[in-house]
């Protein structure tokens, strides 16, 4: 008996977690997918009727705004965070005396809740008493900076706050990458008189391709899941000008009582995440098995 137990204990230990993951991750995804093919509104219905919810979704102007915003926000957030992160990492890699302290400062926003970040930037960006009035008080009385309440520009304030939160983290990834480049090759290039700028563009940066990919995956993942930041910074407004798929889904699920729309938008979000993550995970797992 105890022999049997001992033999099967590893499986028994892993069992409950496996059960939980299958039920609460895969089972729940299946449930949500099922509901997305029904006419569910306030209460779930289980008769499959086809793509009704998805056609409602893609006919909805609000969803269109949310998708447009996801692309604007995602593109700028990823691009600027990567650029800034790489730039700071290269600067920090020049044998800076206070590197440790600087790294600590650049990275602390990552420890904060996005609600805190949103609250802080909402206050800084508010037109009446924030940055706008600071610049005005310097003598530029015509200066206006009302992006946070301007429907056409509010989404860019989400980019500003998002970049502030995540770029330090990208810096840390890149800095680790820069340090792992083979120093012998760099030394050889230096001996040959290759200029520093060229060493970076021709040798170091190309060899960091996997880090670019990781940073991209992490940032894209953050962008698609962005919810807290929008809620705290703009509340999705003005109107629904800064809605993202995540806030759309939440509104449908918990304030509009439209379960069908909530389910179908959640499924679209998941498909977008998977389109980004699955190829990456697949290649990662395969590489590991090859080793």
């Amino acid at each position: 008996m105890s022999n049997w137990l001992e033999k099967h204990l590893p499986k028994i230990v892993l069992g409950p977690s496996l059960f939980a993951i299958i039920l609460f991750v895969y089972g729940f995804i299946a449930w949500t997918a099922w509901i997305s093919f029904t006419k569910s509104r306030l209460m779930p219905k289980y008769d499959i009727v086809g793509f009704i919810q998805y056609s409602r979704l893609f006919d909805s102007p609000r969803w269109e705004v949310a998708i447009d915003n996801l692309f604007i926000f995602g593109f700028l957030f990823i691009l600027i965070s990567m650029f800034l992160g790489l730039l700071i990492a290269i600067f920090l890699d020049q044998k800076i005396r206070v590197e440790g302290a600087l790294r600590t400062i650049y990275l602390y926003p990552m420890a904060l809740s996005l609600i805190v970040t949103g609250t802080a930037w909402k206050w800084i960006l508010n037109p009446g008493l924030g940055l706008e009035s600071v610049v005005k008080s310097w003598g530029f009385t015509d200066f206006t900076f009302d992006w946070v309440i301007n429907p056409d520009f509010a989404i860019y304030t989400v980019v500003i706050a998002g970049v502030w939160q995540a770029s330090g983290f990208v810096m840390a990834l890149f800095l680790a990458g820069l340090r792992s480049v083979d120093q012998e090759i760099i030394k050889a290039a230096q001996v040959d008189g290759v200029p520093t700028f060229k060493i970076y563009t021709a040798i170091i940066i190309p060899s960091m391709a996997p880090i670019f990919l990781s940073a991209f995956i992490v940032l894209a993942h953050l962008a698609i899941k962005s919810f807290d930041l929008v809620i705290a910074l703009t509340g999705g407004g003005p109107g629904y000008a800064t809605d993202l798929p995540a806030t759309y889904m939440y509104t449908m699920a918990f304030s509009r009582g439209d379960i069908g729309q909530a389910a179908s938008s959640a499924i679209i979000m998941m498909l977008v995440v998977f389109a980004v993550v699955v190829p990456y995970l697949y290649s990662e797992l395969r590489n590991k098995n090859d080793q």
């Binding site: 991750v25 089972g27 600067f91 602390y108 926003p109 809740s113 206050w123 705290a232």
Partner: protein, 292 residues
């Protein structure tokens, strides 16, 4: 030749100065929000209205901190952040502890007791780390209701444990996989059991990864907003939800100093963790994102 060298040094000095200049500009960019939060929280409303956003407070007052902690309104209730701070602690501590323990055992099995299918199970768990949680919100709300846990602290602990297992397992698996499997074989020869090997050999080796996992989980759970706002009710809300309610409550005069004090209070625990255990925090971040 000497002249040439001299010239290079001269441009080097200018380049170094430029470098430090840019690094300082970035320091200002990252510190500005924190600076503004702290100074605003120490000003009176009067001074906020008449003074500049970036000015130091003329008369330091801690009134806003008192209000934020014990009397700011989060909707109809006006008890400040205090009860919600405790809610977050009541949620975070058990959730961190349980998910770390489960992750350690799972990681130990997946890394050292490979049986047929163990890799597939691990892949399934890994995959679960990446789903956008929106896709589980609706069914989870119903299941919590069925289990009579809707709107409860226990319900939130449960949710955080379930969706934390993937990451904690990943952390421990990646750590244990580097421990030579001969160790387990030798211990088995000597008659040590599965749990005995875990307890006496693996756990004592695990301190760094336990710290990394605890910090990662604590930061995730403390900063969570989506689960908090979806599965809590008045009285059980975590601090992030309460902070958002204080800032966005529309009743009365907008008290920016109270908002900022509340934001700092909500940020304080994870910020302290970062300041005192930054090394482990960063290890968790990179392990959680690059490897995952």
């Amino acid at each position: 030749m000497i002249n040439n060298n001299y010239k290079i040094n001269y441009t080097n000095v200018i380049l170094r100065m430029l470098l430090y200049f840019f690094l300082s500009v970035f320091v200002l960019y990252y510190l500005l929000p924190l600076f503004v939060m702290v100074t605003t929280s120490l000003k009176s409303l009067e001074e906020i209205r008449t003074g500049s956003l970036v000015a130091l407070p003329r008369n330091i007052t801690f009134e806003a901190w008192g209000t934020a902690w014990s009397s700011a309104c989060t909707g109809i209730q006006c008890e400040g952040l205090k009860p919600y701070f405790w809610n977050s602690i009541l949620i975070a501590i058990p959730a961190v502890f349980i998910s770390t323990l489960i992750g350690a055992l799972n990681g130990y099995v997946v890394a050292q007791w490979r049986f047929k299918g163990a890799n597939i199970i691990f892949a399934l768990m890994l995959f679960g780390c990446f789903i956008p949680f929106q896709v589980v919100l609706l069914p989870m709300a119903r299941v919590l209701g069925l289990m009579d846990l809707a709107g409860s602290i226990i319900g939130l602990i449960f949710v955080h444990v379930i969706y934390g297992i993937g990451f904690t397992t990943l952390f421990f698996r990646n750590y244990y996989v580097n421990i030579p499997s001969e160790l387990v074989k030798a211990a088995k020869m000597d008659g040590a059991t599965f749990l005995r090997i875990f307890w006496s050999i693996f756990l004592p080796l695990s301190l760094p990864i336990i710290v990394v996992t605890i910090i990662w989980q604590f930061t995730q759970i403390w900063n969570d907003f989506l689960f908090g706002v979806s599965f809590s009710e008045a009285g059980t809300q975590p601090i992030t939800v309460a902070l958002n309610n204080i800032v966005n409550s529309t009743t009365g005069v907008k008290e920016y100093n109270v908002d900022m004090a509340a934001a700092i209070i909500a940020a304080m625990p994870t910020l302290l963790v970062y300041i005192f255990a930054g090394k482990y925090f960063i290890r968790g971040l990179t392990a959680g994102s690059v490897k995952g």
